[in-house]
Amino acid sequence: MATPSIDRLARATPPSLARKVRGLSDRAIAWIFVAPTILLLLAINIFPLIWTIRLSFTNYAANKTNAEVKWVGLKNYERILTDEDIWSNMTTTAHFLIWTIVLQVIIGFTLAWLINRKFKGNDLLTTLIVVPMMLSPAVVGNFWTFLYQPQIGVVNYIVEFFTGIPAASFSMLGPGGLAPWSIIIVDTWMWTPFVMLICLAGLRSIPDYIYEAAEVDRASKWRQFWTITVPMVLPFLMLAVLFRGIENFKMFDMVNLLTGGGPGDETLLTSIDLKREAFEKWRTGYSSAYAIILFVTVFGLASIYVKALNKVKER
């Protein structure tokens, strides 16, 4: 009885009246509430970013604090953009990025589509499937090195069991070209549920009456899938790809533990290379320029992608 009447009263009251009520002005409260967050971000995100930009024009080395710091202009940028090794790392990253996204989209969408059949126990299974993506990527990377051990690893055993290829004849993380695929497998294992969950939300957002109307029009199931299901899930799927793309462009922890960039440079993603330059070779100025280039790349690609995403949403 009481609540609805308050509701009605509240709705009848213009907001300006509420604002005149005693206490601090809303404007002051807004600033007091937002300020701490902005200050923290300024101190721990923006200030360091500006510092990185400044360092990127110098030859500073963090392990030689007494050495004279020289201003080198754009030389660091020039060296990175003309360095073939860096381009090969970019290619490695692109390979990782594209294959993880392709596999996760295909498997994730298929799973969501199956789960959407609403069979008994689908809730429980969904929860179980989701577990891997919530785990620590570093610990995951570490225990997959165990599963991937040469000769005695479980993965080698399973491959031998099903295909007859001798377990001792190949190595998932060693030389032989399998390592780039091994990291793709682990990432796909871990993150397919993410794509699945988002697709499932997309599928559940399609109202039944659209299918009912299609059925009245005698559209085949195949046609319904391509003209209703796919277009309506697409914005969701694209959002999932955006998230996975940004995350995997930054990928460091899981792969660092799994391969550390090896064997040779086969899985040397840009983030891992950056870590070597910054924290092993201590070329701070150079790696700052490297970091800025990576940031601009991910930011640029993401902005273009978001524009495309908005176009799809508008349709």
Binding site: I29, A30, I38, N45, W51, V139, Q149, I198, Y211, S287
Partner: protein
């Protein structure tokens, strides 16, 4: 009996779908089951080939995880007094003697302190900012919100370079406070975006009624909005906690001893002679278990959390 519906999948298709998804669930959970089972194996059992599915369970891995041991000569081992306590007895069975506790408990505690500390801070700051963004006209609101989100696009290593230098100057390297502030800065974007979504869903009328009743804005926030947003705040907190708990890149670069968390520590666990896989598996099991439980608790808000509130169910 419900009426026939064209959108209801047929019985056969349900059955096939259920079977395929069950199969995927089994395959995807296999690595986790393997790790948990490895934590209960002996050293030799863990690396036997073909891999052992059935084995005699032991807690050796857990004992090794929490202790450091040496392996004395066999003749020396025979001269020792009988083992004192269960842990010693289990170590003795492997031909080793316990020399002291390992650092695992410390690192685990660091994870707890830094995880909860940064979560609490993110939630306090995040709730205040989210309320302001939700209810007031903040100048440049959309720009600020986007700025907060874009901080997540930075590769962690790129951020780590200046943070490393800054913390070295300020004496925050390898301290709990330093890590709490850093994780809060990373988590705050998630917290603000999620909480804004939750607060947007609370009707403004409730507060406005309270304001008319003579509450100040702050009282209305505390007594009306906060209780309504409790579920949202709780699930946001779990997401922040899981992120801080799982984080590795900053932890490995910015901490070395005092404030090191478990993720950089677990891969460094080595036994007496070679990697001690049951101990590593035991560490991983203890570390991952809380997250598995939280995932089950969170399942309703999972989607929202992982997409920064972009997708709501």
């Amino acid at each position: 009996m419900s009426a026939y519906s064209v959108t209801e999948p047929s019985k056969v298709s349900k059955w096939v779908a259920g079977l395929l998804v069950t199969l995927y669930a089994i395959i995807t959970l296999l690595p986790l089951v393997w790790i948990i089972s490895t934590s209960f194996k002996t050293g030799p059992d863990s690396i036997s080939y073909p891999p052992k599915v059935f084995f005699e369970p032991t807690v050796e891995g857990y004992v090794n995880l929490f202790t450091t041991r040496t392996r004395p000569a066999v003749s020396e081992l025979d001269t020792l007094p009988p083992p004192d306590g269960l842990m010693e007895e289990i170590a003795r069975r492997q031909g080793t003697i316990i020399t002291g506790p390992s650092r695992f408990a410390e690192r685990f505690l660091n994870s707890v302190i830094i995880g909860f500390g940064s979560t609490a801070l993110s939630i306090i700051l995040g709730t205040l900012a989210a309320y302001a963004f939700s209810r007031f006209k903040v100048p440049l609101k959309d720009d600020l919100l986007f700025f907060i989100l874009s901080t997540r696009m930075m590769p962690p290593i790129a951020v780590a370079i200046p943070i490393y230098l800054m913390y070295r100057e300020l004496g925050l390297s390898d301290t709990h406070v330093g890590m709490i502030l850093l994780y809060t800065a990373v988590n705050i974007s998630l917290a603000v975006w999620l909480l804004k979504g939750f607060i947007d869903e609370i009707p403004r009328e409730y507060e406005e009624a309270a304001l008319i009743d003579g509450y100040t804005r702050f009282q209305a926030f505390r007594k009306v909005v906060l209780p309504q947003a409790a579920t949202g705040i709780a699930s946001t907190a779990i997401f922040c906690l899981i992120f801080a708990w799982n984080e590795y890149a900053f932890a490995v670069l910015l901490t070395s001893g005092n404030a090191q968390t478990a993720p950089p520590f677990i891969p460094t666990i080595i036994g007496v002679g070679g990697q001690d896989w049951p101990a590593v598996a035991a560490g991983a099991t203890l570390f991952l278990l809380p997250v598995m439980i939280f995932t089950i608790l969170l399942r309703k808000h999972l989607l929202r959390g992982i997409t920064f509130g972009a997708v709501r169910k």
